[in-house]
Amino acid sequence: MSFLHPLALFGLAAAAIPALLHLLQRRTPPELEFPPLRYLSDAERQSARRLRLRHLLLLLLRTALIAVIVLAAARPLVPVRGGAEHQPTALVVILDNSPSSGAVIDGHPVLDRLRVAARGSIARTSAADRIWLLLADGVMRGGAREALLASADSATPDWQRLDLAQAVDRAARLVHAQPLPGREVHVFSDLQRTALAAGRADVPDGVRVLALAPAPGRAAVNRGIASASVAEGAVVVEVTGSDGRDPAPVTVRIGTREVGRALATPGAAVSVALPPQHTGWWAGDATLEPDELRADDRRPFVWRVAPPARVSSGPGAGPFVATALGVLRDARRVEDGHDVIVGDVPSGTTGRWVVQPPADPALIGQADRALAARGVPWRWSTAGTPGPLVTREVDPIAGTQVTRRYRLEGTGGDVLATVNDEPWLVRSGDVVLLGSRLDTAWTALPAAPGFVPFVDALVNRIVVGAAAVGAAEGTPRVEFQIRGADTVGATAFGLDPRESDLTPATPELVAAAFGRAAELLTDARFAAERFAGTRRADASALLLVLALLLAATELGVATLTR
């Protein structure tokens, strides 16, 4: 409860007046003779209990009367459930327009319901409130109510996934920092369980989190293509979605030409062979039959058809490199030739080289001079500390332990892998430098399963400066990376596969993600509960009526019990 005129509460001291008067009146009364004292004593004895009760009741009534009048003068604002204006509130409306909100359930888009509810919350704000709108793009939009209403109205299903726990955490911290009496976060989402599975919002005390419960009715079931990637002349398509769905036909197309079909159930992957293609970059897509969520029914993929690199082992390549090249040669990933040379000291000034430090430390200086002669601005320096490999460019070797290495020092070029934040794999022009020899005495890499793919990537892609085929979240499409006149890489965009599972989160999961104080409410309850924490009504009129009743009761007790 709060008060419009809190200073008036000092008047509560006046509530002690009846008690003080009672005490003051206990002064020595006048003394009079009265012969029939025995009658008086009898009457008093018979009435003593009634009089004590009367005095106590009158004292309470008078004290309460003064207290109630003072409280009424202070204009108390009491919490009410409906109909009253709320106190200034900091509000973040999270409208989850992630791809899953585009699902159509029973003929109605999920986002339509969320948008109406979000609009209701924004529309109920007043000029004294501070409001923000958070969409799936993660941008916290502040501003006037009308502008945010327009933003909510124009929201369409986005291609980005929204981490709800993280979003609530941000929103809660934002409203908590506002110096306003009310702090609320309204969550309008389809509450996918996959959106809440990771993380937990740290909601400070005093922040109310209200989440709109999923619409009652049947649970939406859906399947989508989680990934599609090309390997070994075939596209591997992984299907995801709600549990328990029957197998669905996956169609693979290159351009508009259908090249294959297969049946896949959620959680399983199928491989569809691709027809031989000419050298170059190719793109295709895998599609499912339309269902509740259309956005995940198609996923593009891209791959590069390139001739095998012609590789030879240079001096000091070592037995592990030679063996790996032999395997790649058998798999027709490389051919014999001198386009790429793997060794420890580059000789000559032309050709592509993959060089590793010489095994003999005495030859480091000579190797550095050879690099300098080729115009490579990098050199091997002192011995570095052991550590794991960190790389985003060459996935197969990430995390592999390096026990012995030289520090690579230099400028320019691309640092493709590091150890202890120091360059370990560097590309500079036509030369790729390694910080360690590809030998088990230096690193565990030669004994790791990813060693052959790593050597494959070194000689076929990295040394020629081609980027890997990547995958990213976004509108299903393919983007190529161009360097000069060459295409050096490509990225296939598609939905985050977690968006395909439309199974709603359980209340327990919601509580775990948003905190125990979060309220999961139906549409009607949400409308009633929003701003309820700060909704206030002036109770002074009620108190005045109460004061009137107390006064009437006091009058009645004072006269009728006389």
């Binding site: 006048p30 008086l40 008093e44 009089l51």
Partner: protein, 307 residues
Amino acid sequence: MARTIVPPLASATVPTPTRVDLLDPAEVARLGGIEIVAEGVVEGFLSGLHRSPFRGFSVEFTEHRAYQPGDELRYLDWRILARSDRLFIKQFEEETNLRAMILVDASRSMAWRGAPERLTKRAYADRLAAALALILLRQRDATGLVTFDEEVRQVIPARVKAGQWTRLVRGLLDTPDGRGTAAHAALQRLTALLARRGLVVLVSDLLFDRELALTALRYLRHRGHQVIVFHLMDPAEVELAGPPEVRFTDPESPATVVVRPRELARAYADTVQREVAAWRTACRRHGIAYHHVQTDLPFGLALRLLT
């Protein structure tokens, strides 16, 4: 306190343009001393009557009345009993030599009045007793007086000779206001004084132990006396009033009580009513005539209670 007695001369009768016995007692008291007031009252009172209100022991039958416990069985009308199985007492014309004894309570509580414009209970009792004595003496009835508080203060034997009334009035005036009330002891002594059956009139505020007093009155009744009790109360004793809070003290004892009259008025009035009803019931049970009189009641109306 010095008091003067004015003899009840025929010429000293009070001019009565109106019935003095029906005036306010306090106004009547301002006309003069007890004698003047009593004579005026008696004159007015008797002018309204054709015969004595007192019935004694006569041979001339007058009427019947219902039997009351204590009545002598020899006056029971056996014929009516045989015919109707109901008990009636035969009453006769007044006895010419009725012996009457008037008992006046002179205790401290009787010297109290609730308002300055009213008579004290004692003053009212004196005047009522004087008037009563005058009536009796004029009927040639032997009339005596006893005044008492804790002790018997004055005893004037019943006589009918000339000057008796003056002695009675002097007896009243010579009795100062006493302290406590011991009616029981006074009444017991009175029983020894009243050898012959007669009339006993007690004028008191009855602020003493009811059972003890009733024991004595009952004894008198059993001795064959006709007993009349005038229970005097000041109007302020009937309805409690006063300042918001007051300490009331008992004039006859050290007892005190602090009350708020407005709060206790109703309960007090109920208590007084119960007390009066208790006296009335107890007296009726023993054949004692009981009259509750407030001191603002005109003397004539008080005397008329006896008719």
